[in-house]
């Protein structure tokens, strides 16, 4: 499990009703490095990818970044299509990917006697994938999913992110200070008075 709850210093009682504090990063990281932060880890090919592999990838990208109430299946399908396209353009990483998918199924069979995509429990599926998270093929799928979701302007509104604003004159007249559950900031007059004199 990859969430580490931060130790609370105060006694339990005082902390009931308080927020959950999380340090998400897992503590152990095998020495596998993707190239640069976004690993240039390129992803496998796709005319090369058969239907079963496609189904598996579709399950995988949903397990990597699961947003069941937020994203449509079509968003994930688009990511799998990108993975396929990348694979077609790069036969070598396509082979890696296919070998990787086979290893995932092997692991799943060994642990649960079923292929990965047929595991019903999300925890079990994530657990199987965690075994392979430091491998290039996995990070290739992962970063393609990352860019397909979080760097995708069509999806941003679903997360409440509005993105580029310069073409709209900034947020100065578009709600940069519109929340009501905390007090307003100081007025211009108050801010002026602070710095003068």
């Amino acid at each position: 499990m990859n969430i580490r709850f931060h130790p609370f210093k105060k006694n339990r009682k005082e902390h009931e009703g308080l927020s959950r504090r999380m340090f998400l990063m897992t503590t152990t990281m095998a020495g596998v490095t993707t190239s640069a932060m976004l690993g240039g880890a390129s992803i496998a090919s796709a005319a090369s990818i058969n239907e079963a592999q496609g189904t598996m990838l579709l399950r995988m990208v949903q397990d990597i970044y699961p947003h069941p109430g937020l994203l449509e299946l079509s968003h994930y399908e688009a990511i799998v299509a990108t993975i396929g396209k990348n694979a077609d353009e790069n036969p070598e990483s396509a082979d890696d990917l296919k070998a990787g998918l086979a290893k995932i199924d092997e692991q799943s069979q060994a642990l649960y006697g079923k292929p990965y995509a047929e595991l019903e429990d999300a925890d079990a599926r994530e657990g199987v994938l965690r075994h392979f998270q430091h491998e290039g093929f996995f990070q290739g799928v992962r970063w393609t999913a990352y860019f397909g979701i979080y760097d995708n302007k069509d999806i941003w509104p679903l997360f409440g992110y509005q993105g580029s604003s310069v073409e709209h004159g900034g947020y100065i007249d578009r709600g940069f200070s519109d929340i009501t559950f905390v007090p307003e900031g100081p007025t211009l007059e108050e801010r002026m008075a602070e710095v003068q004199g």
Partner: protein
């Protein structure tokens, strides 16, 4: 909007052109906060200079409101390695730092926080004492000496506050949440400045339009950057030539051991030797020491200006982390200034806290792309916990915490023994291993931030480890004693009179605050000193 506001002074002005064998010029390496400021200050005093900038000539039209597009466009992505015990040596193995390669340097990406050092932070050895495993020393200058230079820097950059009389910026949603948490936890020192961002129209630059994306470059020029202030102004004098796509490979010296010029590669890889009367190194704290180390010769086998052995050592990048809180209601933190407010209550030295030095909390908004990449960096940052946290994106407010990073000799820029960059130079390894002081301070930072956000009803609080370094300091440190530092109080190399260091690598200690105001103040002061020493024929 852009063109209506910003006047491009350089258009139509004929830039100076100096001969390669003109040995009367000052050569400045790098066009960022240090180099850009120095070039303009010297030009205004009538001193001729050639600025050599490794990156491209960007202009304000290149700025986009897009995190990854700007990262790919302007970041320094030449070969580099992360080393040491920090998580980045695993999670960011080839991106130890996030800084810029191009006209204007990292002042394109910087957020604009413009804080002064506190007096105790110039005297860390005196105030903290000797600390095991650390290399803590006093600066040869103090706050009294620096105050007039800080004022000049604030006027130049347009920093909100008393010096300019410009009000601090209006408070945006994300900062209002933080500020209310501060109020409820009894804090008093929190405000939306000092920022080098125009809150009113000033100095031919417009008022901030709350665009957000300050760290991708300010598309209208409300935030100070040397790209559209110091550099075009220097060029306009006709005394400063700025050559972009000019990567300096080596600083050359003559038989007396004086700097005589620099060897650089142009964009086609052709090498040129530009002669110089004075050489000023301002390539930021990774490239500056790397260049001095790569300039080793038979006279200086350990690298230029390195008789102290301190070149490349004492690398500091602040003790940092991030904290994001999910609030019960929408916040839309990305609307408006990226660093919209600063909390200064924790900036004091009290050993009873279990660590030396203090730290700031700075409100920092990230767009969804960066949030998703940095919430849990590295190979493990996926799965239900991460995805679930990201569904709170529009309800988040958060801070970047940064505090004093104690100098350690083992934290250093060294040269790789086999890997070379595209110019054939040994690639730098940037090593950073946190000191015990850092672990203690980080725990305190996380606790303080969480308490503040819990006081405004946070439902979840996420703690993020350090990002790739944006503040880089200390690798050519200043010291009164030539055995303990590389440069003197003016950034002049102890070993070589006509060699200067003009960036944050001069820092003796990191202080808690962001470095740029101090880099600019030191560059203004250094320009005065260089002009005076040139007039006196001392250099």
């Amino acid at each position: 909007m852009k063109s209506a506001w910003l006047k491009f002074r350089d258009k139509g002005t004929k830039m100076a052109q100096f001969e390669l064998n003109d040995d009367s010029v000052v050569v400045i390496i790098g066009s960022g906060a240090g180099g850009g400021t120095l070039a303009n200050e010297l030009a205004q005093k009538g001193v001729k200079s050639v600025v050599l900038e490794a990156g491209k000539r960007f202009d304000i039209g290149d700025i986009e409101n897009d995190e990854w597009a700007m990262f790919s466009k302007i970041s320094w992505l030449d070969k580099r390695y992360s080393g040491g015990g920090w998580h980045g040596s695993v999670n960011h193995p080839t991106l130890p730092a996030w800084i810029v390669k191009g006209y204007g340097g990292s002042t394109n990406h910087w957020a604009g926080v413009a804080l002064r050092f506190k007096d105790f932070e110039f005297k860390t050895r005196t105030n903290y004492g000797a600390i095991d495993g650390a290399n803590v020393e006093d600066w040869p200058i103090d706050l009294d000496e620096m105050t007039p230079w800080y004022e000049k820097a604030e006027l130049k950059m347009g920093v909100t506050g008393k010096t300019t009389g410009m009000p601090h910026l209006p408070w945006n949603n994300g900062f209002r949440v933080l500020a209310e948490g501060c109020r409820r936890t009894g804090r008093t020192d929190y405000n939306s400045g000092p920022m080098a961002i125009n809150s009113v129209e000033r100095d031919d630059r417009p008022q901030c339009q709350q665009i957000g994306f300050c760290m991708q470059g300010c598309a209208i020029g409300a935030k100070w950057s040397t790209m559209y202030t110091e550099l075009p102004r220097a060029e306009e004098t006709g005394l400063c030539e700025i050559r972009t796509d000019a990567m300096v490979l080596k600083v050359e010296h003559d038989e007396d051991g004086k700097a005589s010029g620099v060897l650089y590669a142009d964009k086609d890889g052709n090498q040129h030797l530009q002669k110089a009367r004075i050489v000023c190194v301002a390539g930021n704290s990774i490239e500056s020491p790397r260049l001095l180390l790569n300039s080793a010769s038979s006279m200086f086998p350990d690298g230029l200006a390195n008789s102290s052995g301190q070149v490349g050592k004492n690398y500091m990048n602040h003790t940092t982390g991030g904290v994001y809180a999910a609030l019960p209601e929408k916040v839309h933190m990305f609307r408006g200034t990226s660093v919209a407010g600063i909390v200064g209550d924790e900036v004091y030295h009290d050993p009873a806290r279990g660590f030396s030095g203090g730290y700031y909390l700075e409100f920092l908004s990230l767009g969804l792309p960066f949030m998703a990449a940095f919430l849990e960096p590295g190979n493990t940052g996926w799965g239900r916990s991460v995805a679930g946290a990201l569904e709170n994106y529009d309800k988040m407010s958060g801070v970047w915490v940064l505090g004093e990073d104690l100098a350690q000799e083992r934290n250093a820029i060294t040269l790789h023994d086999s890997e070379v960059d595209q110019y054939g130079l040994p690639a730098p390894i940037v090593s950073k291993t946190p000191h015990n002081n850092d672990y203690e301070m980080t725990a305190h930072m996380y606790e303080t931030s969480a308490q503040i956000y819990e006081a405004v009803g946070a439902t979840d609080v996420y703690e993020l480890p350090a990002y790739p370094a944006t503040h880089n300091m200390g690798t050519n440190r200043m010291h009164a004693d030539a055995d303990k530092g590389v440069v003197n109080a003016y950034g002049q190399a102890h070993d070589i009179d006509n060699l200067f260091v003009s960036d944050g690598s001069q820092f003796t200690s990191s202080a808690a605050c962001n470095p740029t105001l101090t880099i600019v103040a030191l560059a203004i002061r250094q320009a005065e000193y260089i002009a005076q020493e040139m007039n006196a024929q001392n250099i």
